[in-house]
């Protein structure tokens, strides 16, 4: 019998990939560490003041709320992506079920389905726009925005929690090599532009 503690260490798909050399656009692309994530689906009447970790569930679609550790992105009318520290998985699950007790909902652990990549730097939006067709300007995608969208030929969830030029790209595990490679290529592709 193997030790649970040893075996519980997660092997992240981008774990071994190093960061790209600094380039003219100064954007950093960094795989995120292990996190816990849930896909929450629920139906409830609007105006219900449902909260998890102090974050309102009926926030507008395509926004993200965070208490600093837990973040909840509302991706659609009945869909949320919830993230948090890996150690808090059970706690978080319990709190969500508690908050939604009696309401139709589904809470599915997708911690291992999703991979996070952080893209940061002054030109981060330009780098993302190599493959993401959305308007990422301050007005159109302000701090607190989150949405499912595309990056090149992969589906991603794009989250901008704060005012910093820091974006979280979440993709499915098997697409992470592509998404990571795409972002690294985009860092180079943003070079040399008259528009920078």
């Amino acid at each position: 019998m193997l030790e649970t503690r040893y075996r519980a260490a997660r092997a992240l798909p981008l774990g071994a990939i190093s960061r790209p050399a600094a380039t003219g656009s100064g954007v950093s692309v960094r795989p995120a560490g292990a996190e816990t994530r849930f896909s929450l689906r629920a139906r409830f009447a609007t105006g219900t003041a449902l909260k998890v970790a102090g974050i309102a569930l009926d926030a507008p679609i395509n926004t993200v709320g965070s208490d600093g550790e837990v973040w909840i992105a509302r991706l659609g009318p009945d869909e949320w992506l919830v993230g948090g520290p890996e150690a808090d998985a059970d706690l978080l699950q319990g709190r969500i079920h508690e908050a939604l007790a009696g309401l139709p909902h589904s809470l599915v652990d997708v911690s291992h389905r999703n991979v996070g990549i952080d893209v940061s730097g002054r030109q981060a939006a330009a780098v993302l726009n190599a493959g993401c067709p959305l308007d990422l300007s301050e007005a159109a995608f302000p701090p607190g925005s989150a949405t499912r969208t595309l990056l090149g030929k992969a589906e991603i969830v794009l989250i901008r929690a704060t005012a910093a030029p820091l974006y979280r790209v979440e993709c499915w595990r098997s697409f992470s090599t592509y998404v990571h490679g795409f972002l690294n290529e985009a860092v180079f592709g943003a070079e040399g532009s008259a528009a920078l």
Binding site: I61, N62, L75, G76, P77, E79, P133, T147, R148, T149
Partner: protein, 114 residues
């Protein structure tokens, strides 16, 4: 690439969407009671109008929701989009041929030439 107003997410590029063809084709509640001709109509016959078309779209790489739209198949302009299960508000009937499909600043360009 079209720009499509998802009722939940606002205007988004077409690549995030999947088109589901003609809208408002209700699946018969009990298909076993209808004859082969009616069933084949349900499955295969489509309006395909040259003009306003009511069609279904799914914001597949966005909120994941299906919704309906009225679009002019001559100009590809959308008249409106509306949630699944609802009827169009604009009152424009599918099949209508719109008189013009000019932009909202309808002034013709030569009128204002110096």
């Amino acid at each position: 690439m079209l720009l499509i107003a998802c009722p939940h997410c606002g205007k988004r590029p077409e690549t995030e969407f999947r088109c589901g063809g003609q809208a408002h084709i209700a699946r018969p509640t009990d298909p076993s009671t209808i004859d082969d001709g009616a069933w084949s109509e349900h499955l295969f016959v489509r309006a395909n109008p040259k003009g306003v078309h009511a069609e279904r779209w799914c914001h597949a790489h966005g909120c994941g929701r299906w919704f309906n739209a009225l679009r002019d198949t001559i100009s590809d302009r959308f008249i409106e989009t509306y949630p699944m299960g609802e009827q169009a508000k604009s009152g424009v009937k599918p099949g209508t041929v719109l008189a013009t499909h000019s932009a909202t600043h309808a002034a013709t360009q030569s009128e204002t030439r110096a």
